[in-house]
Amino acid sequence: MGKRVLVIEDEPNITEAINFFLSRDGWEVFTHSNGHDALQAVARRAPDLLILDVMLPGKSGYEILRELRDTADWKHLPVLMLTARGQARDREMARAAGASRFMTKPFSNAEILEAVRELVDS
C-alpha cells in the first residue's frame, strides 16, 4: 500500500473528490468529517500526511493543529491546511498553529496532488 493520508473535511463531495484522485495516485486515503474527535482519528489512522480543513464542526482546524503540535508523536506530521479564506491574517494564523502548507479554496486537484507529494517527500 502507498503512504497514508487522512482528510479531515466536513464537505462530503470535496472529501469524495480528494479521496478519489489521491487513491488513483496510489495513496491510502482515510476520511473524517468533524473536529470533535479529530485527534482520535489521527491517532487511529497514524497518517503520513494530514489534509485539514479550517472550519469544522466542533473544533476549528487551528485548534486541532495546535493540539497536534503539542503531542510528541505528531509534532512533525506534515499538515496541509485548507481554507475558504486567503487573507494574510489567515495564513499567519495557520503558520502560527504549525501548518506545513496553506491552500485556499477553490483549489485544483493538481495543486493538491503536487502539495501532498512534496510534503511527504520532504
Partner: protein, 436 residues
C-alpha cells in the same frame, strides 16, 4: 483691520431690498448716518438694543442679521477644513468666503457631508465583510461548493478510464453542488438586499435628526394620546435602522410622559399668560423642571417663544436628544465642549443651573441656558441611579456687560473646531490654527 462678520452687509442688503435710505434707517434707529455707514461696512460691531431696533425697522428677526443661518454653514466649512489641514484652507477668511460665495460655500459643505457619509458606508461594508458571521458563513458555503464542483469536474475531465459507477456518482455530486450553489447565491443576494437599509448613506443619528426635523419636534398624535410612542415608530418608513428606531422610541416615550404631565392646551394657556418662564411652568404643573424645559423646546413655532434649542444627555455625557439652533450648532460627531452648563448640571443633580454662555466666534454670540439633571426611571433598592441632564438654550441679544449679574461662560462646540486659547477644558488640540 481683520474682516469682521457680515452683520453689516446683511443690514445693508436688507435695507436696500426695502428701498430704505441709509439716513432714514439711521434716524429710525437713533444713530447717525455715518455710524450706520461704518456698521454697514462691517467696521463697527453691533449688538444689544441697537441691533434690536435696526431689526425692528428692517422687519426681520435680529438673529437673521447676526450670524444666524450662516453659523451652521460656517461650522460645516470649519469641519471640512479640519478634515484636510494639509490643504491650509484660509480659515481667517471663512466669513468672507461664506458671505461672498454662499452657493459655492454650501456646495463645499454639502460635498464634505457627502464624503463623510460615503466613508461611513465604506466602513460599514468593510466591517460587514470582516465581522458579519452570516455573510462569512454564506461565503464559506459558496466557496466550499465551488471547490467541490471544480474538483469533481476536474476528475471527470482529466481521468481516463473512469468506472461508470464513479462517473454517475460524480455527475450526481456536480448536479447536487450546482443546485446548492444556485440556492446559496440567491440567498446571499437576498440577504445583501435586505441589509441594504442598514448600510445606506445615512447614519442612524442623521435619520433621527431628519425624522425629528421633519416633524418639527412636535407630535400631535402623542399630545392627544391617539398613538403610543411604539405605534409612531412602527408607523413610519423614515427610520430604516434598528438603532434609529430605538433612539426615537426612547425619546418619544419621554415625549409622551412629559405631554401627560404638562398637557398641550394648558401649556399654551400658560405660555400666553406668562410667556417664557420654565421654572414657573414646572411649579404650575407640579412637574419636574426637566419636563418643563423639554415641553417648552418642543412647542410648535406658533407658540411665539422664538428659537429654543434643547439637548439631553445621560450620565456618560452621551447626547440622547439634540435640537440645535442655527446659531448654536451641536457637534455631529464626537463629544461636545465640556464647559456646557449641561455638564455642570450633571455634577449637581436636582439643582437648576442658569448660565449665559458665549460661543467662540469673532462676534461672540450669547445664549441663555437653563439646565437641570434629574433622576430618571423608577428606583429600587440596590439600583444604580440613572441621571439625565437637560439644557434649554435661546439666543441672548445682550452685548457688552450683562445686566443679569451672570458673567458669560465662554464655551465652544467641540475642541476640534474651537480656537479658544488656554482653555482648561481642552481635550485635544484644535485643527484650526487661525483665530476665528
Amino acid at each position: 483691520m481683520p474682516r469682521d462678520t457680515l452683520t453689516g452687509t446683511r443690514i445693508r442688503e436688507r435695507r436696500t431690498a426695502l428701498g430704505l435710505k441709509q439716513a432714514a434707517l439711521a434716524e429710525a434707529a437713533g444713530i447717525s448716518a455715518s455710524y450706520l455707514n461704518l456698521i454697514e461696512h462691517n467696521r463697527r460691531r453691533i449688538g444689544g438694543k441697537l441691533l434690536l431696533s435696526i431689526a425692528r425697522v428692517l422687519e426681520v428677526e435680529p438673529s437673521a442679521l447676526v450670524e444666524g443661518a450662516e453659523a451652521a454653514l460656517l461650522s460645516a466649512l470649519r469641519e471640512a477644513a479640519a478634515a484636510r489641514p494639509d490643504l491650509k484652507a484660509e480659515l481667517e477668511r471663512i466669513d468672507e468666503f461664506a458671505g461672498r460665495f454662499p452657493g459655492w460655500a454650501a456646495l463645499l459643505a454639502e460635498s464634505r457631508k457627502r464624503i463623510d457619509a460615503l466613508e461611513r458606508t465604506v466602513e460599514t461594508l468593510t466591517d460587514r465583510l470582516t465581522h458579519d458571521p452570516h455573510l462569512a458563513a454564506a461565503l464559506h458555503d459558496m466557496l466550499s461548493t465551488v471547490t467541490s464542483i471544480r474538483s469533481t469536474a476536474g476528475i471527470l475531465a482529466e481521468t481516463r478510464e473512469i468506472e461508470p459507477e464513479w462517473q454517475d456518482r460524480f455527475h450526481r455530486n456536480i448536479n447536487e453542488d450546482a443546485r446548492r450553489l444556485a440556492e446559496s447565491s440567491t440567498a446571499l443576494v437576498r440577504y445583501l438586499d435586505s441589509a441594504d437599509s442598514e448600510a445606506n448613506l445615512t447614519s442612524p443619528q442623521e435619520e433621527v435628526e431628519a425624522f425629528l426635523e421633519e416633524n418639527a419636534y412636535h407630535f400631535p398624535a402623542l399630545e392627544e394620546g391617539a398613538l403610543t410612542a411604539d405605534q409612531v415608530v412602527e408607523g413610519t418608513d423614515a427610520l430604516t435602522t434598528a438603532s434609529s428606531r430605538n433612539t426615537i422610541r426612547q425619546y418619544l416615550r419621554r415625549y409622551a410622559r412629559d405631554a401627560g404631565r404638562i398637557p398641550m392646551a394648558t401649556l399654551m394657556e400658560f405660555v400666553r399668560a406668562k410667556g417664557f418662564d420654565p421654572s414657573g411652568l414646572a411649579r404650575a404643573f407640579d412637574a419636574p423642571l426637566g419636563s418643563a424645559l423639554h415641553r417648552l423646546a418642543t412647542l410648535p413655532p406658533a407658540a411665539g417663544l422664538g428659537p429654543l434649542g434643547l439637548v439631553i444627555c445621560d450620565a456618560s455625557g452621551t447626547m440622547l436628544f439634540r435640537k440645535p439652533l442655527d446659531e448654536f450648532p451641536l457637534p455631529r460627531f464626537g463629544a461636545a465642549c465640556a464647559l456646557w452648563p449641561l455638564f455642570t448640571a450633571l455634577t449637581r443633580p436636582a439643582q437648576p443651573v442658569y448660565r449665559i454662555v458665549e460661543q467662540s466666534a469673532r462676534e461672540a454670540r450669547r445664549f441663555e441656558t437653563f439646565s437641570i439633571a434629574e433622576l430618571t426611571g423608577g428606583m429600587r433598592f440596590g439600583d444604580v441611579a440613572r441621571i439625565e441632564a437637560v439644557m434649554l438654550f435661546r439666543p441672548s441679544f445682550e452685548s457688552g456687560p450683562v445686566t443679569t449679574g451672570h458673567a458669560p461662560v465662554p464655551i465652544g462646540v467641540s475642541c476640534r473646531i474651537c480656537v479658544r486659547e488656554g482653555c482648561s477644558a481642552r481635550r485635544e488640540p484644535s485643527v484650526l490654527t487661525e483665530g476665528l
